[in-house]
Symmetry: C2
Subunit: 465 residues, 2 copies
Amino acid sequence: MNKQSLKQSSEQSFILKGNICYSKSREELACIEQGFLVCVDGVSQGVFRFIPEEYKELEVIDYGDSIIIPGMNDLHLHAPQYTFRGTGMDLELLDWLETYTFPEERKYENADYAKRAYSFFAEDLKNSATTRAVIFATIHVPGTLFLMDKLEETGLKTLVGKVNMDRNCADFLSEQTAEASLEATRLWLEQSAGRYRHTAPILTPRFVPTCSDDLLKGLGQIQKEFGLPMQSHLSENLSEIEWVKDLCPWSTCYGDVYRHFGLFGTPEKDSLSLPSSLSSSEPLSSSESLSLSLSESNAKSIMAHCVYSSEEEIDLMKQHGVYIAHCPQSNSNLASGIAPVRDYLNRNLNVGLGTDIAGGASLSMFRCMADAITVSKLRWRLVDQSLKPLTAEEAFYLATIGGGSFFGKVGSFENGYEFDALVLDDSRMRTAEKLSLKERLERYIYLAEESGKLIGKYVGGKQIF
Amino acid sequence: MNKQSLKQSSEQSFILKGNICYSKSREELACIEQGFLVCVDGVSQGVFRFIPEEYKELEVIDYGDSIIIPGMNDLHLHAPQYTFRGTGMDLELLDWLETYTFPEERKYENADYAKRAYSFFAEDLKNSATTRAVIFATIHVPGTLFLMDKLEETGLKTLVGKVNMDRNCADFLSEQTAEASLEATRLWLEQSAGRYRHTAPILTPRFVPTCSDDLLKGLGQIQKEFGLPMQSHLSENLSEIEWVKDLCPWSTCYGDVYRHFGLFGTPEKDSLSLPSSLSSSEPLSSSESLSLSLSESNAKSIMAHCVYSSEEEIDLMKQHGVYIAHCPQSNSNLASGIAPVRDYLNRNLNVGLGTDIAGGASLSMFRCMADAITVSKLRWRLVDQSLKPLTAEEAFYLATIGGGSFFGKVGSFENGYEFDALVLDDSRMRTAEKLSLKERLERYIYLAEESGKLIGKYVGGKQIF
């Protein structure tokens, strides 16, 4: 890294030089060798082949032959499951929750345990490719606040949820009554209010089986009152779906339960569109302002999995602008199945990726992209040949803009996007001949853990490392 | 690493101390915390809770809290595809070969290119978890010999094949006639004879579509003459199987073509059985002598993939003691499907694992184990619920003894096994509470690339690093 100039630059205004890749659309990847990526006050000004006159005084950080890409957005993971990831991978969802997950989450009532375990999680997440994440904690308020404290220190942007659950789980992890669960939620919201710059609360009913109608109704009221986003699980496993039918016989589908209680987001007016102009010494593109800051994202909801969503549920998700967190490794590890992501993309639903720690064992969003491609191929082969497999470009789009748009104008280097960036060193992936930049990026997706190295990370213009 | 004693030990006689795991059977994993693994003249004497009197003078290498396991045996990979792994993952098998693989393999006619690329491959394989491997080269004799030279230097045990192909491929990679291909094969065998201690040739017709009947017939004669093992591909992809039916209408199934030309191995007399005694200060088990050295394995064949083998083909494989190289990542990447490994295990067929570089992008046998488990779960969910998913213990068995037995008495720490061992540092996989040794091993399988570290490697008693 060679700092060519230190003149006239604020901490969050600078230029990165290197091999730059970012999505221009779902299918199109922009690849600029030795380009200049300009950040002013934490916002991208675009990618240039030469430094435009107005930015000549900014510091240039030269990353040599490294690859610079937008940050990765993990739409679904469970922080308290992090330290047991990669163990107990022999059961399906409902038994897995009972046998491994709930006993583990119980431990977070102990402050010492929570501090130790959440510190490991926050440190490893900081060092990962993830720049923004949407995270489940446990039912415990002190533990959840401690997790938010630790995440705040990392500089990453995160949404964190204290979990709600008042039925169908062991006594040790149940909040017992809807009232108690709602009261704890209000306490948590009070205590976290005004405490964080990078971290914000998100309402988090675990899933319908563990949340009574009264609890969901109360959370719907809190949603209106506080204007918060919401996350939960949806149609992950066939037994789970049957169970929801039994529990809420009045519902038209699983997703209808969340909708009924005002927890499915509100209908979207605009969908994200990106212009795709590219010319040298001009911003590679500019885009109209559609900035959605964290505080404006209040009507949004994320539903993890959606492996078996019915036509009716898909329509509901479309109407309400629901974000689908596709979690390919988790859906494989828990033998849930493979979500029809191609179908969701064809219908222009909002889709991002999630590692779903610890249903997924890996914290890596690169691995998550590769898994999304791989399972889509197996689904094409084994289930439905009318739905084409995902391409590397599409998986990259999902991990960057797909999930990033939940946070606002995030996930690209187009002009006006919040400046989240990763710097990748692929020098250990040796080849006998020069590869194209696009080939190098594709290979990095597959081999990140085996021989990649993340050497730089920026979130909202702030250098994390 | 603390060398407690240096008295009276030959280079290949020593004791490793650490947390030791190895398979006692397909379902049973032996896990001994702080045990002693004794190696005398390159052969394991077993695992002990205390050092037996007769070994008191041997050097003890103390690996502290690390995990010690048998080496991994990769039954199928293509060395010339290594440097383009992780790119061009958007096509199915036959188009993938035409578009990416054959043009890449052509480059190995150039000695400089072959030297550069094979050097990278050999160095990375040396540093990987693989202790033994069965490898495809290309049609080129000088390149194949250079690959064997480089692999010999690593100290790993490898079988390497000059590829045969004389039809249905671009001119630039065809040996044109059966005679030319057979002549080149004899030249290669002459030139490699007596040249290596750790490396040996294996006959390698690419697959039936690219090998004429005359070529296969000639290779069958060479097999008899030289007593060599043989490797190829079998029933990987549905279009491939149809093609073979067209090419060899006289055959009863794809595998029958290899059998017809004497290239399917000879019927096995004994199947591998392992006793499972375990007592402290005694060898944890002893096993009858069924040592098959490399030179005795001459009638054996390895068939990669077997995703769609018919009943008849399965029976033929059983009769001939064929080794199936299950390559889960490759079968997913090329959208081939998922092999019914549980069925093969139920029928007591010989099964090992293969990374299949570059159909598989990852060189890691840990990743290969995790993938084998994962795809077996998806197969159970999506294809056939009568075949249970693989467990972590079973995947571990396949990677160690399953593939190791192709090389002889390899893949375990039972008394009499060749001493191949790996030392794993899992200290970066932090937990808030102590895990059992078995849980640590399971987690290492899933997280090896993300946060594991291979800190020691032994092959046949020789320390590689």
